[in-house]
C-alpha cells in the first residue's frame, strides 16, 4: 500500500509498529491511546532515546503474525519485508512499509506522512520545522570522522553523514577504519558513536584498545541509539552534538 493512498483513509485507532524506526515515528506523532503496540526495541532504553515515551505501551517482537490478535487497523514497518506484506494482504490488514530514508529531509517527510496518517499533522509540521531550522543554522562543515565500536565508519554520503553535516561535520571516510591509519592520520574531530556502553564483545573491545590513548584528535561522543535509525530522535541529538562540538 502506498502512503499517498493510505493517508486518505480514516484515522486509525489501533496502530502497531513492527520496526524500531517506525516505533520512533509513532512515539512522536500518535495521540494517547492510538498505539496498540510497538516493537520491543522501541521500548528498550538501550536501543532508543525515545523509549521513555513508550512506558506502559504493549510491545511486540516485530512479527506481523504476533500482532494480528491486537486487531490493528494500521501496521507500520520499515524496509523490505515481503513476508509481512504478503500476510497482511491475505488477512486484509492495512500495512505500510516505509522505505529507508536516505537524508534528514527524507526523515522529515516520512514523519509528516506518519503524522498525517495519525490525524496529527501539527506534530509532523513541528518536526519538519525543527529539521528545517537545523538545516538553516548548520555551521560551516569541518572535516571529521564518526566511528562505531568495531571501527566501522558510516558511509560518507549516507543518512548519518547527512545528519552530521547539520552539526557542522563532514564525514571524511566510510567503511572499516584501520586503527593504525587512524592514529597516524587522525581526523581533526573524532565522533565516537557509543552504543550499549559496557557490553563487551570482540568488535566492541576495539574502542577500548590501549593504542587509542595515543590518538591526537578532539573527541566527542554521539548517542549511538539515535543514529541506529537516524530518524525521529535525531534533531535533539544534533542539537546536543552541536553544543558538545562548540565546547
Amino acid at each position: 500500500m502506498t502512503l499517498s493512498g493510505a493517508s486518505a483513509a480514516a484515522t486509525p485507532a489501533r496502530v502497531v509498529s513492527l520496526n524500531l524506526c517506525t516505533d520512533e515515528y509513532l512515539l512522536i506523532t500518535a495521540r494517547p491511546g492510538q498505539i496498540a503496540s510497538i516493537s520491543r526495541l522501541g521500548a528498550d532504553p538501550q536501543e532508543s532515546p525515545l523509549a521513555g515515551r513508550a512506558r506502559g505501551l504493549a510491545i511486540n517482537s516485530g512479527r506481523l503474525s504476533e500482532v494480528i490478535e491486537q486487531r490493528p487497523d494500521l501496521v507500520l514497518t520499515m524496509g523490505h519485508d515481503p513476508q509481512a506484506v504478503a500476510l497482511a494482504a491475505r488477512l486484509r490488514i492495512r500495512l505500510i512499509a516505509l522505505p529507508y530514508p536516505t537524508s534528514p529531509a527524507a526523515v522529515a517527510t516520512q514523519v509528516q506522512q506518519v503524522a498525517a496518517l495519525m490525524g496529527n499533522r501539527p506534530a509532523g509540521i513541528e518536526f519538519a520545522a525543527r529539521v528545517a531550522a537545523l538545516m538553516a543554522s548548520a555551521p560551516k562543515a569541518q572535516p571529521g570522522l564518526m566511528i562505531g565500536g568495531s571501527g566501522l565508519a558510516p558511509a560518507m554520503d549516507g543518512l548519518a553523514a547527512g545528519w552530521l553535516r547539520l552539526a557542522g561535520i563532514s564525514q571524511q571516510q566510510g567503511g572499516q577504519i584501520s586503527l593504525e591509519r587512524l592514529l597516524v592520520q587522525p581526523p581533526p574531530m573524532l565522533i565516537r558513536n557509543v552504543y550499549r556502553r559496557g557490553q563487551v564483545s570482540g568488535p566492541q573491545a576495539w574502542s577500548l584498545h590501549p593504542a587509542l590513548r595515543q590518538l591526537r584528535a578532539t573527541q566527542v561522543e554521539a548517542d549511538g541509539r539515535a543514529f541506529l535509525c537516524g530518524g525521529a530522535a535525531m534533531p535533539a541529538e544534533i542539537i546536543r552534538l552541536k553544543k558538545a562540538l562548540a565546547a
Binding site: 526495541l41 528498550d44 538501550q46 536501543e47 565500536g149 568495531s150 571501527g151 567503511g175 572499516q176 584501520s178 586503527l179 593504525e180 591509519r181 592514529l183 597516524v184 552504543y195 550499549r196 559496557g198 557490553q199 563487551v200 564483545s201 570482540g202 568488535p203 566492541q204 573491545a205 576495539w206 584498545h209 590501549p210 593504542a211 595515543q214 541506529l228
Partner: protein
C-alpha cells in the same frame, strides 16, 4: 623439517611486523614515539597471536588425530572450537563479562565440549564412535551458538556476534596477547609432553597398556591441553577453523606417520599457516574485508573434501 618450519615462522613473523596500512619506517623518521607505539601495541600483538593461535590449533589437531586415531579428528570436527566460541559468546554477551571473562568462557566451553565428547563416546570407545560422538557434539554446539545468536539482546548485537564468530586478528592488543600466551603455551607444552604416549597409543590400546600407557590418563591430559590451546585462541580471535585439521596431514609424511611426533611440527606449521593467512587478508585490496576465519575455511573446506575423496 622442524628447523625449516621454524625459519618459515620467523620470516612470516618479520613480514607480518613489517606489513600494514602505515609505512612504519617513514613514520619512524617523522614521529618515533608514535611509530614505537604502533609497533608495540598493534603489530606485535597481531603477529604474536597469529603465531601462537596457529601453533595451538596445529598442535591440538595433531594430538586429537593421534588420540582418536582418526585423520578427520580436529578441534573443529570434535567440538572444542565450537565449544570455545559458545563459551565466549555466553560469557561476553549474556553475562556481560569483559575480555578476561570471555577468555575464561572460551576455555570452559572448550573443556566442557571435550568432556561431553568423552562421556558420550563412553570409556574406551572405538575411534569411529568417538568421531561420530564428536560430530554430534559439534552439531549440538553449532545449534546452541545459533540459539545464542537468535537470543542476542538486539539485532545490532547480532551483527557484532556474527563478525566475532568469523574470526579476526585485526587490531588486537597487548593485554589480549598477554592473556593468550600463557594459556596456549601451557596447552602446547602439555601436548608435547603427551606426544610419546600418543605414539605408543598408535600401537593399539592393549599394547600401550602393556607398555604402561593408560588411555584414560592420556585422554585427560590431552583434553585439558586442547581446551587450553584452542579455548584461549578462540576467545581472543574468534572462530578460526580448519588449521587444526589441515596441518597434521601436511606434516605427517615427514615424521614417518608417527602421530605423536607430528605434534611439534604441526605446531610450527600451524603458526606459519595462520601467519600466512593473516598476512593475506591484510594484502587484499581495500574494501574487500575478508575475515581471517573465512579465509582459513575457504582453504580448509576444499582440503577436507579432498581428504574424504582420497579415502574412498
Amino acid at each position: 623439517m622442524k628447523a625449516g618450519l621454524a625459519l618459515l615462522c620467523i620470516v612470516l613473523a618479520l613480514a607480518s611486523l613489517a606489513l600494514g596500512p602505515v609505512d612504519l619506517a617513514a613514520l619512524w623518521a617523522r614521529d618515533p614515539e608514535l611509530a614505537r607505539s604502533l609497533f608495540i601495541e598493534l603489530r606485535l600483538p597481531r603477529t604474536g597471536l597469529a603465531l601462537l593461535i596457529g601453533a595451538g590449533l596445529g598442535a591440538s589437531g595433531a594430538a586429537a588425530q593421534a588420540l582418536f586415531r582418526n585423520p578427520l579428528a580436529s578441534p573443529d570436527v570434535l567440538g572444542p572450537s565450537s565449544g570455545a566460541a559458545l563459551g565466549a559468546v555466553l560469557a561476553g554477551y549474556f553475562l556481560g563479562a569483559g575480555v578476561i571473562g570471555m577468555a575464561m568462557g572460551g576455555l570452559a566451553g572448550a573443556g566442557i565440549s571435550l568432556l561431553l565428547l568423552l562421556a558420550l563416546a563412553g570409556r574406551g570407545a572405538g575411534t569411529t564412535r568417538l568421531v561420530l560422538a564428536g560430530v554430534a557434539v559439534s552439531m549440538l554446539l553449532g545449534v546452541a551458538i545459533n540459539l545464542a545468536l537468535s537470543l542476542a539482546p538486539s539485532p545490532f548485537a547480532l551483527y557484532d556476534l556474527m563478525f566475532w564468530l568469523m574470526g579476526s586478528l585485526n587490531d588486537r592488543s597487548l593485554p589480549q596477547l598477554a592473556l593468550a600466551v600463557p594459556l596456549i603455551l601451557i596447552g602446547i607444552v602439555l601436548l608435547l609432553r603427551a606426544a610419546p604416549a600418543l605414539d605408543t597409543l598408535a600401537l593399539g590400546e592393549e599394547v600401550a597398556q602393556s607398555l604402561g600407557v593408560g588411555l584414560s590418563a592420556v585422554q585427560a591430559r590431552v583434553v585439558v591441553a586442547i581446551a587450553l590451546a584452542t579455548g584461549a585462541g578462540v576467545a581472543v580471535a574468534g572462530s578460526i577453523g580448519f588449521i587444526g585439521l589441515i596441518v597434521p596431514h601436511l606434516v605427517r609424511p615427514y615424521v614417518g606417520h608417527q602421530p605423536g611426533s607430528a605434534v611439534l611440527p604441526s605446531a610450527l606449521a600451524g603458526a606459519a599457516l595462520l601467519s600466512a593467512a593473516d598476512i593475506t587478508v591484510r594484502l587484499l585490496p581495500a574494501g574487500l574485508d575478508l575475515r581471517l576465519g573465512v579465509l582459513t575455511a575457504l582453504i580448509g573446506a576444499p582440503f577436507f573434501l579432498c581428504l574424504i575423496m582420497g579415502r574412498r
